[in-house]
């Protein structure tokens, strides 16, 4: 064994600590400087009354957080975000599973059909938003034109701007873009189920519904955990979708937490307060996700 393998500089070759520095230096510098630092600064700013890009932040302690407790628009955003998130989590956890199970049964066109469902996921959010904005347009959109052509005029709505419908519009947009992704994760999990289980079920004469409930569903639980957490994160972080479609409208009805933070910063210039809101949201999200994972893991193991 040569000495000098473990560390310390020797003979002009870079070893030990210097080498490690070179190896992870660039990544750590970039990440530390442009992600970690702003995150920490964000927390610091939340304790100030920073307003406007050229303003000077003055320390005001927890005043922002106190204000947050009585901020009605914030709570409205929270309610809307939770409502959307609930729909999104349920949809991506269960509907994707059903679709994956069906897709898994295909023999002839499996790749093609799977490809069709996955395609919207690779489109940019702006593309999906534009497509849906077109479909939903009251005067000229495809959906309403089709309804009118079928003499179903009374069903034509302003799908995007109607107070009652806007939340479902957003949900449909998110569901459409994301379905392929979540279904694919379930499909991957399905591949890991051993063929012998299916064989045994077939011998026992089990029908497809039993096969699903006794074999497939229990073995899909790890992905249920993954998908529901990812769906939760998707829901809570709803923001670009709002910017490119409803812009929080009608009125303030489709304000999500993320959009509210953006609104505070860009339209109200209240950057310190925005930082406080984002910090609270992040803390809450981590807490909820941790609970969700803990609960689901326990169910996973016990089954």
């Amino acid at each position: 064994m040569r000495s000098g393998l473990k560390g310390g500089a020797s003979g002009g070759r870079l070893r030990g600590a210097t080498a490690s520095l070179i190896l992870c230096g660039p990544a750590v510098a970039l990440y530390g400087g442009f992600i970690v630092l702003p995150a920490l600064l964000g927390f610091a700013y939340s304790l100030t009354d920073w307003t406007g890009w050229t303003g000077t932040p003055d320390f005001i302690g927890l005043a922002n957080f106190r204000e947050l407790c009585s901020d009605t628009l914030f709570f409205k955003s929270v309610r809307f975000t939770l409502f959307e998130t609930a729909m999104i989590v349920v949809f991506f956890t269960f509907f994707s599973m059903a679709l994956a199970v069906l897709l898994d049964k295909l023999r002839v066109w499996k790749g093609l059909i799977r490809g069709l469902f996955f395609y919207p996921y690779v489109l940019s959010i702006i593309v999906s938003a534009l497509l849906f904005t077109y479909l939903a347009n009251y005067r000229e959109g495809a959906v309403n034109l089709l309804l009118r052509a079928l003499h179903l005029d009374m069903l034509a709505q302003d799908w995007m701007a109607d107070r009652a419908l806007a939340p479902y519009f957003i949900f449909t947009l998110v569901a459409w873009s994301g379905l392929g992704f979540f279904t694919t994760l379930y499909l991957a999990n399905l591949q890991t189920i051993p063929g012998e289980l299916y064989e045994a079920a077939r011998i026992d004469g089990a029908g497809p519904l039993s096969v699903f409930s006794r074999i497939q569903f229990p073995m899909l639980l790890p992905t249920v955990t993954t998908n529901s957490v990812l769906a939760l994160i998707t829901g809570i972080n709803l923001f670009p979708q709002i910017v490119v479609t409803t812009q929080g409208g009608p009125g303030f009805d489709t304000f999500t937490i993320g959009y509210y933070i953006y609104h505070l910063g860009y339209q109200k210039d209240r950057l310190g307060y925005a930082a406080a809101v984002s910090f609270m949201t992040f803390a809450a999200l981590v807490a909820v996700a941790a609970v969700q994972v803990a609960v689901l893991r326990r169910r996973q193991v016990s089954l």
Partner: protein
Amino acid sequence: MSGPGRKRVRWPFLEAALLLAGIAFVSPCLLAVLNSVKTRPEIIQSPLALPKEFTFASYRYLFTSVKLARPMVNSALMCVGVISCLILSAPMAAYSLMRRQMATGRFLRVMFLAGLTIPFQIIMFPLLKLFRTLGIEYTYLALLIHHVSWGLPLCIFIYSGFMSTIPKALEESAALDGCGPVGTFWRIIFPLLTPCTVTVIIFWGLWIWNDFMQAFVIMGTTRGQLVFVQLYQFLSDKYVKQWNHIFAGVVVMSMPVTVLYLAMQRRFIKGLTAGALK
């Protein structure tokens, strides 16, 4: 496929039904392609019918009046830039975190892992302020730096996972030959990481090209000239939407992604599931 013993019932109706469902599912996209070659009045009259007048006028408009070629080049350059920086920094870092003894190793691993959960809003405003302080606000450089930094946690995570498949014996023999750690990495380990690198190129190519939100926030709409930020301008005219132009724009800008997707579909899905199953 899952094992030799699995017999499947043939469900021809299922195949047909799902095929129709799939086509219906992507119908908005098909509609966009169909309507991009119609004139605007015709779109309003009969959105679902085949075009009476087949015209490429919208596409011409995009490249002459809107000058879409420039943003496309810019977006492509941004992809190349970000991917290059990621490939130059992430695998090395993953290697040092996984394979080398470092005093701060554990701390750094946790720090990078935590980065996977941070939402963009938390850093959005302080980051902008930071760029302003550095004098690079609203520049391509700022966006590039952001995309690279933002992508590092996930990229390192992906490489770390792959790293465990490389046998330690290779490093030991390289060291015996007198190769330093950095040299060992680039000459021996990195070539073995190629499948991983390909996955990274595909995914980040997709994400950076498609990106709207971060380009919008960091570069704004006036100074930046990137593909999807330009497309967003089409939306801002709230009263009279030029659907034919919008559709042509959507088709053109999604073309690279669509081509990539068709060519690499299997890889996409494999890359996704490999990461997710961990």
